[in-house]
Amino acid sequence: MIDRHIGFVHALRETGLPVSLAEGLDAAHALRHIDLADRETLRQAYAATLVKRPQHREGFDVLFDLWFPSTTQGPPKHRGDDPEDLRTELAELLKGNPGDPGFRAFAQAMVERFGRVQAGPGRQSWFSYPVMRALSPQTLIARLLGERGGLPEKLARQRITTNIAAFEAEVATDVRRRIAEEQGRERITRSAVKPPIDHRDFLRVTKAELAEMRREIHPLARRLATRLSMKHKKGDRGRLDFRRTVRASLQSGGVPLTTHLKPRRPHKPELVVVTDASDSVSGFAQFTLLLTFALREQFTKVRAFAFVDTVDEITEYFAPGADVLDAITRMTTEADISRFGRTNYGHVLKTFEERHADALTPKTSLLILGDARSNYQPPNTETLKRLAGKVRHAYWLNPEPRGQWDTGDSVASGYAAMIPMYECRNVRQLAAFIEETDVGG
């Protein structure tokens, strides 16, 4: 048990979960008190002692299933060979509760039945894709919905899609277990665990991940807002409050022993965001736009502009209380941001200076978001320099890894010479940027 415990903790560290020595010891202590045969309790005991961030939980579960695999429930009972019968059985299960043991047993049996595939000459391996293809649970939805239309259908659909996702997860877990059994745990550990959501690359996110990231936004915005307001409070106190000082001096016979100072007026800066809305950086742009508008209470004024090869103001689409998803759709259809559909930074900067230069004042912080890939058009760096000269702060956030700057049509360092440019590839780096720099103050 000790060996397995040590191995498991090592594997967690290897995949980027920070487990300190003390936490490892806590987990070992916890193991003494629980019933080790109960797998779920064991999982929760490890989770409670080792996993201190919700983002790490997903990776932890994957690893736990590999190191403490569930036992298969005896020989699989005979099932009909006809895929149609199996589909009927799956349909029954999808109506039920994914927590019940039959659900997992069925998933394991299906991997046994369909999951083994030739992976190369003379080599066989396990995959979840053929299982899902053979059963194609998505096509069962129509059959299962029964009642059509209105609320009941929505509720049923929600339930079934959740259950299908649960089934898919069970299948994937079992596939990983079988691979680990045949080829060893270490082999699969690294490939099985995805980095936590705040480490994932903006430019490579899938649609589902993007939705997940959007959910991260509000906590992040709130966190940033509290941080910013704390910064304000900690700053020096303001000028002498004469009235209060004299009033207080009455207690000491007119001698002003304690001075009272006026609290400093919080500085509420204006923010101008100019964001690249072309397809190559859309994930990044969506995310940062949402964040900008989540932060708007913090700023007296937020104005946002989007561009592809020409630039237009998009502030109105993100009015307070507006639905963010609608806003993004409206922005892409209604705003005049694209002429030929190929990013052209030089032209964008020029147009911005011509049409919207009034947005920039000495109180403004200017934030440009984009990959600085200008399709070999003239970059117009001088314009950027003039724009940066008008504002209090100017920053450029680039969603590309630093190593790729200046490759191909990127003119990153040309712009970086004019205003500070930061690599901003994931939520973590974005948070770090806002905490380090004083966009808010």
């Binding site: 936490e23 201190k52 609320l151 509720l155 939705a211 509290t226 963010v324």
Partner: protein, 280 residues
């Protein structure tokens, strides 16, 4: 003392107080008891974090001491304070009293000190830890790792018996690594529809099982939408009360549209839900 004998016992005893737990909750509560470590419960608002602490206190027949955190909370409000008015009076009454004024009778107990000195089993609830300033975390570190408080005039006070500490946080800011390392961590999230149905049934006597089921499913569907604020368990329970008061027995489109305000408190969220669920 042992707080709970096993995770399953924790489940039963929490259930007796009306708190429905699951594997994760029961195991961490049990472990926090046997390892004598603080339990940090984090999660969105209204999933029963504070309620958990209350349920533990009730299940273990312990006193509940609550420290509500807020911006600007300081030692004097969290730990202890000298009752200087009383001290002043004492000095005025007796000129030789200078040595006596830092004694027990002039000490004002605040929640943390009270929990440490208590002779009875105590559950110490430190609520909304993320709202407090970072300095307070430093203050908590000494108390949570050694269960002792140093008062310069009186010396170090160690815990008579270690309290069961529950910290809650809405994750509006990241708590420090040092604090997290000392705690067991429990992430409380929205429950599965099955568990939520049971919660509604337990909290709202007189509600039909079918309606509770529908409510739980609808709440789950609402949470799957991208809303500004997803409905919490507390709001689902409120919803159940509302329907009961209105005498509704099924949750159809009409009813949902009329009572949506109970669960969704943002106009844009209501519009979105109405659109996605096909109301009106």
């Amino acid at each position: 003392m042992t707080w709970f004998a096993s995770p399953s016992e924790a489940v039963t005893r929490l259930r007796q107080t009306g708190y429905l737990s699951d594997d994760a909750i029961a195991t961490s509560v049990f472990l926090a008891g046997v390892l004598e470590k603080p339990l940090l419960a984090e999660g969105p608002a209204g999933v029963g974090k504070t309620q958990l602490a209350k349920a533990i206190a009730e299940a273990a027949d312990a006193d509940l001491v609550r420290l509500q955190c807020y911006e600007g909370l300081d030692e004097a409000r969290a730990l202890y304070e000298w009752n200087y008015k009383k001290q002043l009076l004492r000095i005025q009454a007796d000129d030789d009293a200078w040595d006596d004024i830092f004694a027990e009778e002039f000490l004002l107990e605040r929640p943390l000190l009270k929990a440490i000195r208590s002779e009875r089993p105590t559950v110490l609830l430190i609520d909304e830890t993320d709202k407090a300033d970072v300095e307070v975390e430093g203050l908590l570190l000494e108390i949570l790792s050694d269960f002792q408080i140093t008062i310069p005039e009186l010396g170090t006070i160690s815990a008579a018996r270690r309290p069961f500490v529950v910290l809650t946080s809405n994750a509006t800011r990241e708590l420090s690594e040092a604090l997290k390392r000392r705690c067991l961590y429990l992430h409380l999230d929205y429950p599965t529809p099955e568990r939520e149905r049971d919660i509604v049934l337990a909290q709202v006597p007189g509600i039909a099982e079918a309606l509770a089921e529908q409510l739980a499913r609808t709440a789950a569907t609402l949470r799957a939408l991208e809303l500004k604020k997803s409905p919490s368990i507390a709001e689902t329970v409120d919803w159940a009360h509302t329907l009961l008061a209105l005498g509704r027995e099924v949750l159809d489109e009409q009813t949902v549209a009329e009572t949506l305000g109970v669960v969704l408190k943002h106009h844009s969220d209501q519009q979105r839900a109405a659109k996605e669920l096909g109301l009106r």
